[in-house]
Symmetry: C2
Subunit: 170 residues, 2 copies
Amino acid sequence: MRDTGMGAGLGGESLLFLTDEQLRQGIEAMFFAYRGFTADPDRILADLAYGRAHHRAVHFINRAPGTTVNNLLNILGVTKQSLNRVLRTLIADGLVESRVGQHDKRERHLFLTEDGHALEQKLSDAQRARMRTAFREAGPDAVGGFRRVLEAMMDPEMRRAYARLKENGA
Amino acid sequence: MRDTGMGAGLGGESLLFLTDEQLRQGIEAMFFAYRGFTADPDRILADLAYGRAHHRAVHFINRAPGTTVNNLLNILGVTKQSLNRVLRTLIADGLVESRVGQHDKRERHLFLTEDGHALEQKLSDAQRARMRTAFREAGPDAVGGFRRVLEAMMDPEMRRAYARLKENGA
DNA sequence: TTGGAATGTCAACAACACTGACGTAAGCTG
DNA sequence: CAGCTTACGTCAGTGTTGTTGACATTCCAA
């Protein structure tokens, strides 16, 4: 609603001066884009009686095989009760395997089974396809900016988790 | 995991060649960043017995005052029953006013009350503050790229809704 | 004017998050 | 060894948010 009173003209963003309108557009872009981001996996999951929570679990177990329940908890930012419900169904359905730790027998290390890998592939194929299209459409320079802004938007703790996973995969 | 074998040096990504690893990092960046994106308003809402759905409704009613329920439905992408529950509490609590349409009496036009505006301000102040910090940290070039990628990630219908709102506010 | 489409409301249910409390097994420390 | 802590699982209860189904009102067009 508010006009800052100066320099909202040029489509470019001035370095120091961010209008509320520019910020609001960023907010709405996040909202609408996130919907697109989850749309394709959501469609696949709906047919399988799974939800987004299952997707997240499968994604990060694939990304860091052998991760412990506690570690996954920190990455996902949910309660153990909530994660447990999801994990239980995934294990019961034979998509995830839980192995007692060798060094520390209290820990459970999580792995995808063959079926689990198949689902992960299916889900991430869909999501990567959209990401690839978006990256291509926007161009290589935009991709760098995209990632820099997102990284700056994370809570510090999540930024660390993100960085750790990046090294993991690189 | 995979190196493209070429020109990965300069922060830029090669145009044609997007590795699965690059795409996966984009996916994880979206996931972690969205958590940060919603964290501040969520904290405020928790104290008020409201949720994210209330925030979204208030945001878009503020953005397009007098909008109809149906219009809001399309923007939010939920069922009318789901939106109605949220709207009902907001109206009961005196944050939103619903006026019967003059031209078409089936329609309800939605407006924020004074209290509604106050809440909207509080929520969007928090969210804009984070967005502003992220934009400043990432720099003006990054902001353009950020928006271009997000726009390319939206479903076409949402891209249109986003564009319409942009004109609305400009 | 009558039937269908559009708009919005109420009721019931499912998914998934949360808190709180408790139990068990295993590791650690004095 | 005894006692504390950690890691994990589970039961019970609650709240938000999504869904479908049924229904009332209003508009419009045959």
